[in-house]
């Protein structure tokens, strides 16, 4: 799943280093919206504003964990 998510996001966020350990700091509000939209559609999960936390967006692994917990 990790590589799949990287592939999905890489296509829409070319300026973002998805392997960064400080991912939340690198993302803009539109980047976060894009991630939420792409993941909720692709994995058919429900995400809300409450999921937008520095912890969930700390790095790609925490995003993967968030998706797994929502499935």
């Amino acid at each position: 799943m990790r590589e799949e998510i990287i592939g999905l996001l890489d296509d829409l966020l070319p300026l973002v280093d998805l392997e960064s350990d400080f991912l939340f700091g690198e993302l803009s509000s539109l980047d976060i919206t894009t991630i939420m939209m792409v993941l909720s559609e692709h994995y058919n999960i429900t995400l809300s504003h409450e999921d937008v936390t520095p912890r969930n967006f700390r790095n790609i692994d925490s995003i993967v964990e968030m998706v797994q917990n929502k499935r």
């Binding site: 890489d10 070319p14 509000s29 937008v52």
Partner: protein
Amino acid sequence: MTILDYIHRNALAVPHKPAIIAQDGTVITYADVYQRMRDCDSLPIPLLGESWESDFHLRTTGTTGKSKTVVISQQAVIANSQNLIHAHGYSSNTVFVVAGALDHLGGWSKIFPTLMTGGTLILLDGMKDVNAFFRAMDYDSTHLATFLVPASIRMLLQFSADRLASYSHKIEFLETGAAPISHTDMLRLCQLLPRTRLYNTYASTETGIVCSYNFNDGRTKPGCCGPALLNSQVFITESGTIACKGSTLMSGYLDEPELTATVLKDGCIHTADSGYIDEDGMLHVLGRNDDVINIGGYKVDPVEVENRALAFPGIQDCICIADQHPVLGDTLKLLVRTGGDKIDKKEIARFMAQTLEPYKVPTRYEYVEIINRTSNGKLDRKSYRK
């Protein structure tokens, strides 16, 4: 009266009232704001002129698509504020949550009417932290107001509709603008916030705030920006473009008299937006008559993007076009011809970001065999428009 005079009046009347609640939670009272303005001391809002009693300077890509500095007089700022106060109903009770960039007209222009009427500003660091936005909305007031670009509205409708609706009794008015909002989103907002005044505004750094329409009026006219405001006049030229007059207009582009003369003629700003005025005297914006692409309220000249991309080794030809994104609306896409070389799109994006603002860096990249050109060799942009 100057802006400082307005603040002075409020500092005398309500010295201890919160004027600004900064991003870090610091509360700055009217007495503090007046003191800092008078002493040219720092405030957590942009002060781009020499002092609060001089002209203001705002950077923009603007109606001609080229980056430049717009000079806005004190009188124009006050005229813009009067337009908003009169049309949207700012008062001393207003608590305005500024969730957009403060160096962009959308956010910047809300500072003055709020402070002039003795209201309270809550400043946020954009909409990255949606929870911070909702915490701001928890402020103890039933006179909340905010400005959100259409992409932020789409995000709230998509991921936080119920939470937004829970503030229905608190949000007095909400303004959008800078980019077109879809009719679907307008209707959904009306449904979620039935008692809130919902405004769609026509404005630019050059023209100031010209028209505004409360689309929660039972009609919700799609694409409508409303009638001309108190200090403004709007009309359609023979070529179908929108032109504006009135005291909200910019003084001109800084140190660019020739460029100024191309858009400011006889006290009238000629925009590149096309539109019409309906039977109720309301302005409708149809699109742009030039190649400039509107990215969430920021205007991008595709030529600037292409010139930078062509400097990347291996790119032989390219064209920058608008690409539809389900959330963001228009985004940038770069079609490239490389002559066989495989180029990593992240490398191109990072190369471009070295000299371009982030919103000018294309989101998507596609390799093509040929870039469409007209018979005289110019890029055939029309052939890429859907």
